[in-house]
């Protein structure tokens, strides 16, 4: 019966294409919007992803997410180092400082201050220069996207020349020199990222009593990280998160306190509804058009179970094709924009699964209407002209 089902499906080319186009569009919209959402949410904790070495992040208890900086005393580093199970603990500065461009305008930048001795927490990939050059007076490493974009020299003819090693700039009215170009994961705010040493960063920053943003901790081998977090919290009265916990805290903050989920959910729901409306309606019409033939098959001995399997097969085949095309188009679009534009796009297998389930629901709900119609069909309909 599968043979007949597929021939019936592919035979009505107009309706077949209509259903597939509807499902492709739904799958594309659901996958693409979800992937953009996932990409943007990933950017919220991109700094945590880039700083891969520490196991634990110690922060002020009031901190709600990674960009919510509540400075602590520098002595916290020493207190953390004293906790049993800590292999090393280093200070990390993170702040938003104004950088003066060559044309006199200012650009807000994320400035990361690394431990002067170890330079722990540096950029994941250097494109030019060396990390150790940060120890030169006023030395900074700028991320490539920022160097070629927001921090680039604006020429009189309007063209932009990327920052390069040796270029000078002012960070919060302090002189600095570019000693390296690095590659980082784009941040949520899409501001340029500048790395320097902890001592330089705190000298660039406005004068204030407390400047330490984080204490990053490496646990000794074999340590239970959750247990170590509890010991650090007990010893310092600060909050200690494992990297994944801190990512989740940040993710949940953006999820809860921004309108992003609603916006994207609306777009995904729209894709779903479009799929149901176009594909569901067309599939139902396709079944109605073939009702006489389903009746004929029924009269000739096809049982309800066989007809049900025929309709399900038809629904699953168009679903599979529509899903494949939609996901393929979304992936192609993602590959096209990723790296070339500022747009975030991340397509983990979970999203492919969610999209598949959504398309499956569209197909099954469309098929359910058709199945109901065919199951209730009296085979005697075949004798009506």
């Amino acid at each position: 019966m599968s043979f007949i089902a597929l021939k019936m499906l592919f035979g009505d080319r107009a309706k077949y294409l209509g259903i597939v186009v509807g499902l492709t569009f739904a799958s594309l919209l659901i996958t693409q919007q979800s992937a953009i959402f996932a990409g943007m949410m990933t950017r919220t904790f991109s700094f945590l992803s880039d700083v891969g070495l520490p196991d634990i992040w110690v922060v002020d208890p009031q901190v709600k997410y990674i960009d919510d900086i509540r400075p602590m005393q520098d002595t916290e580093v020493l207190r953390v180092r004293g906790v049993e199970g800590v292999q090393w603990a280093v200070p990390l500065y993170k702040g938003s400082l104004a950088v003066r461009r060559t044309d006199g305008t200012y650009q807000s930048c994320v400035v990361i201050g690394l431990d002067d001795e170890t330079l722990m927490g540096g950029p994941p990939r250097m494109l030019a220069g060396r990390m150790s050059d940060l120890r030169r007076s006023g030395g900074v490493i700028v991320d490539a996207t920022g160097a070629a974009g927001k921090l680039a020299h604006k020429m009189p003819d309007g063209t932009r020349v990327p920052l390069k090693i040796g270029d000078e700039m002012e960070i919060n009215d302090n002189w600095s020199v570019v000693v390296g170009i690095c590659k980082v994961t784009q941040t949520f705010q899409a501001n340029p990222v500048i790395y320097t040493t902890y001592s330089s960063a705190t000298s660039f920053a406005p004068s204030q009593r407390l400047l330490l943003s984080f204490v990053t901790v490496k646990a000794k081998p074999g340590q239970d990280l959750n247990e170590l977090c509890r010991r650090i919290e007990k010893a310092t009265s600060r909050r200690a998160y494992t990297r994944n916990q801190f990512k989740m805290v940040t993710f949940l903050y953006y999820l809860k306190y921004t309108g992003m989920p609603i916006n994207f959910l609306t777009a995904v729901a729209l894709g779903f509804l479009v799929g149901v409306a176009i594909s569901g309606q067309t599939f139902y019409n396709f079944t109605l058009d073939n009702l006489r033939y389903f009746g004929t098959l029924k009269a000739m001995g096809a049982k309800n179970g066989a007809l049900l399997r025929m309709i399900l097969l038809q629904a699953l085949v168009v679903g599979g094709i529509g899903y494949g095309l939609g996901v393929g188009a979304a992936s192609a679009w993602g590959m096209l924009v990723n790296g070339r534009t500022q747009l975030a796009f991340r397509l983990p297998w979970h999203l492919l699964l969610i999209s598949a389930v959504a398309v499956l629901v569209i197909c099954l709900s469309s098929a359910a209407l058709s199945i109901r119609k065919v199951m209730k069909l009296e085979p005697a309909v075949v004798f009506r002209s």
């Binding site: 043979f3 021939k7 006489r292 009269a299 000739m300 096809a302 075949v382 004798f383």
Partner: protein, 250 residues
């Protein structure tokens, strides 16, 4: 009912036996009594025509006999099986194995080729499509189709050709009973005549019973017996030849 069996009909076992058959559509004031106590027998190898004016209950009667419609009352057995004693699935299986259908509007699936349409009953009965289409091609040769026509879609065929395909489809799985609903009403006189010749030749082979519903008097001559229906009852049963003779006299 007076059962008249012509000499050329081999009197073997009864294929269809109906007694006091009733069927009502709707209820209350809008109820329509389509069958009001039909008594009828059809023997194996017999070609019976059901004739009568529109709305007299012919199609309802063959629907009940073919097991596509449940009766309200009376008795109806086909090859000694009473549909009321079978489940829905058993009835469907019984139809698939024992009954061939020829419809007024042909009901050929437009996206299947001629051979694939003919193969449909075999596929329904579990045969692999390739083998079924092979068997279908054999029977299509018998109804005068060549390779090109076998690979055509129904829309590329004339009405007469489509009805020949429908006949081949009704015969391909060697059913014991064939029911035809107005098989010539969509055809011109000459084509209808050819279709009936084919139906009689192939349909009655294998000691098969044939029931044809029609109001096309031009094809009465093909019947062994003609059962006249009126207002939900069979009013008269005559042999085909004498019915035609009396028509000619009138």
């Amino acid at each position: 009912m007076n059962a008249i069996f012509p000499e050329n009909v081999v009197e073997t076992e009864i294929a269809v036996r109906c007694s006091g058959l009733t069927k009502t559509f709707g209820s209350g004031n809008s109820a329509v009594k389509a069958l009001r106590g039909v008594d009828m027998e059809v023997r194996n190898g017999e070609f019976l025509m059901l004739v009568g004016p529109s709305g007299c209950g012919k199609t309802t009667l063959i629907s009940v006999i073919a097991g596509v419609l449940r009766r309200d009352g009376g008795v109806c057995s086909v090859f000694d099986e009473d549909y009321n004693h079978l489940t829905e699935d058993e009835t469907t299986s019984f139809r698939g194995s024992n009954i061939g259908f020829v419809f007024q509007a042909f009901n050929l699936i437009p996206s299947l080729t001629t051979a694939e349409n003919v193969a449909t009953p075999l596929i329904i009965n579990g045969m692999k499509p390739r083998a079924a289409v092979g068997r279908a091609r054999d029977i299509l040769v018998q109804v005068g189709f060549d390779d090109r026509m076998m690979n055509s879609l129904p829309t590329d065929l004339s009405g007469g050709q489509q009805q020949r395909v429908a006949i081949a489809r009704a015969l391909v799985h060697h059913p014991r009973l064939i029911v035809c609903d107005e098989p010539t009403s969509a055809l011109d006189g000459e084509t209808g005549h050819k279709v009936m010749e084919l139906l009689r030749k192939l349909g009655r082979a294998e000691n098969r019973a044939l029931i044809v519903v029609t109001h096309d008097s031009r094809i009465f001559e093909f019947a062994d017996r003609i059962a006249e229906m009126e207002d939900g009852r069979i009013t008269r049963v005559v042999d085909g030849a004498s019915h035609v003779a009396s028509m000619n006299e009138n």
